[in-house]
């Protein structure tokens, strides 16, 4: 890796770049086949688009958050995949542009944008919220969040790439100092963003854990993506040298931690609302326990939590690249299913069959996103030259 030319983009990652459009095409087929389920009215189309956007935003923000985390703690698990996360975060400008149709067609999604709801005095809670949840404020806040995310990404990834050329070690500390503050601001802004963009799908419901629930979900997506890519190419450059069993065990343990935090957030939100049993709070779960959605929820409890949790407890899963890759792929699928369960029951007339077109839409978005990520990655070294040689047991004998 002494040659500093990005032209030596590894064949393994070029394969990912070639597979990505295939994912989009697969998604398109799934979406086409699934359109029959809910029809192709503008309502439905914009709902699928919105869902795909939320999923992809999740991957980008997950990459962004893990990038910040790695810059702060500098764990050896981050070095092999930091460029994947950097490039994932660099997709945020594209996601801002892709958000425009959602904003323009907002009355097909959000109760606060629907005049027949906001003009009905029965919806006192919604009317009270209009001071905060109105198009102008939503737009201003969205621009603030994105400006911060995009600006800090450009600054940090710029420093990271600059260090490839100048090999100036002081840039490491510069990134750490900046990221420590950015990490705090990221969780805060993401919390507000998901309140604006997803929690407001319900008429009256609120939950204070919802934003951080999405933060952990996003970071699971980004981590699972990194685990899939490094597991798939465990014997190819550049991961054959950079990801050993100790690092793979770190990915397994981090995924284990994410499934536990996901379960903890999901369960605590539900048990608190269940115990309170108040009309304003239960709306969310009433929608998700009706029309067959309850079976999806039960499926997620078993296959997003118990299955991966028990598999990832075992050291074997974390040692065998193909096994870890399979679990990580499964976790991504469960993320898509779970976020579908978070979003679609809020729309009228939906049922679990909507998973088909929704997953299709998500795969279209993700395919395009991954293509762009690999393109962005190919303009820099797949593994930065500033990787510190922490190659002894110091960090991973736990």
């Amino acid at each position: 890796m002494s040659d500093n030319s990005p032209a030596i983009f590894p064949a393994s990652l070029r394969t990912v770049g070639r597979l990505a459009p295939a994912i989009a095409i697969l998604g398109l087929l799934l979406l086409g086949a699934g359109l029959g389920i809910g029809g192709s009215s503008l309502d439905r189309v914009i709902q699928y688009y919105y869902y795909g956007w939320i999923i992809t935003l999740g991957f980008s923000l997950g990459c962004y958050g893990l990038m910040l985390l790695h810059y702060v703690v500098k764990g050896s698990w981050g070095y092999p995949v930091i460029r994947i996360w950097e490039s994932g975060a660099r997709m945020l400008p594209g996601l801002l542009i892709a958000a425009l149709p959602i904003f323009l067609l907002r009355e097909h999604l959000f109760p606060w944008a629907q005049p027949e709801l906001t003009s009905n005095p029965e919806n006192a809670v919604l009317i009270h919220r209009l001071g905060y949840l109105n198009p102008t404020w939503i737009a201003i806040r969205a621009i603030i969040y994105f400006t911060f995310w995009i600006g800090s990404t450009q600054f940090l990834t710029g420093l990271s790439r600059k260090q490839d050329e100048t090999k100036d070690p002081t840039l490491i500390q510069a990134r750490t100092n900046f990221s420590a503050v950015a990490l705090v601001l990221f969780v805060l802004t993401a919390n507000f963003a998901y309140t604006d963009w997803v929690m407001s799908l319900e008429l009256r419901w609120y939950s204070t854990i919802f934003g951080v629930w999405f933060v952990i979900s996003n970071s699971m997506c980004a981590l699972a993506l990194a685990s899939v890519i490094t597991s798939l190419f465990h014997n190819k450059a550049p991961y054959a040298d950079s990801v050993d069993n100790a690092v793979r065990k770190d990915y397994g343990n981090l995924l284990l931690m994410h499934t536990m935090v996901w379960a903890y957030f999901s369960f605590s939100q539900w048990v608190i609302i269940w115990s309170g049993n108040l009309p304003d709070e239960i709306e969310f779960y009433l929608h998700r326990f009706a029309d067959g959605w309850l079976s999806v929820g039960a499926f997620l409890v078993i296959f997003q939590f118990f299955g991966p949790f028990l598999l990832l407890l075992s050291g074997k899963t974390k040692r065998k690249p193909m096994l870890l890759g399979a679990v990580a792929t499964w976790l991504i699928l469960m993320r898509l299913t779970d976020i579908c369960w978070q979003i679609f029951p809020s729309f009228k007339g939906t049922n679990p069959l909507f998973l088909v077109p929704a997953l299709g839409a998500a795969l279209v978005f993700l395919g395009i996103w991954l293509t762009a990520v690999m393109r962005s990655m190919s303009s820099a070294l797949a593994i930065p030259v500033w990787v510190e040689p922490i190659k002894d047991e110091v960090l991973h004998h736990a």
């Binding site: 369960f267 539900w270 048990v271 269940w274 115990s275 049993n277 407890l313 002894d392 047991e393 110091v394 004998h397």
Partner: protein, 195 residues
């Protein structure tokens, strides 16, 4: 072989040296050894290869036991299940005082969602107890007597010396050869450890 001999102790003055020595001893085929140090040496656990696969399973089993235990306790105390059990069960000491079903906001007695946090806590409690007690049982602690204290100057191990002890129980142990091998690893001194 001298049955009053516990092993041979090599004293080092540097943690890297003893780590290297352990690796060389392992590579040469020695198995029964232990390293003594004033502080934990990174990598020593892996070098000595002293993992016991029984511990995780013990922790797991105790965790499951804790889940069942906690849930069972809640079920017995919070639901009127006792009324449905045979009379002799209710007559067992403490049984009647155990059952205390209460109507909380009209929720069912068997409010399983609310039982989960307690069952979770007992899972953690029993798993942690399993880890501590299992560790003590499996590594033979407490151990009031250990022959390694017969090694000369062994008290320095709590200050600035590092001791590697090859035990006579090792199948490859041979007084002369092992002594020579230990000498070749660059220790300050090699000495006998009486049993």
């Amino acid at each position: 072989m001298n049955s009053s001999l516990y092993g041979l102790a090599a004293e080092f003055d540097d943690p890297d040296k003893i780590l290297e020595a352990v690796r060389k001893m392992k590579a040469a085929g020695y198995r029964q050894m232990d390293a003594y140090s004033p502080f934990p040496i990174h990598g020593m656990t892996d070098a000595l290869d002293c993992h016991d696969p029984k511990v995780p399973w013990l922790v797991f089993g105790m965790g499951i036991f804790g889940t069942i235990n906690g849930y069972f306790l809640e079920y017995m105390t919070s639901t009127p299940v006792l009324d449905h059990l045979p009379r002799f069960v209710r007559l067992l000491p403490g049984m009647n005082e155990m059952s205390y079903p209460m109507n909380v906001g009209g929720r069912p007695f068997h409010s399983w969602p609310n039982f989960i946090p307690v069952a979770f806590e007992t899972t953690i409690l029993f798993a942690a107890l399993g880890a501590v007690v299992g560790m003590l049982l499996l590594n033979g602690l407490p151990k009031p007597y250990h022959p390694i204290f017969n090694a000369p100057r062994f008290e320095l191990v709590s200050q600035d010396k590092f001791v590697l002890c090859i035990e006579t129980a090792d199948p490859k142990f041979d007084y002369e050869a092992t002594w020579q091998f230990l000498q070749s690893l660059g220790p300050d001194v090699v000495s006998e450890v009486a049993r």
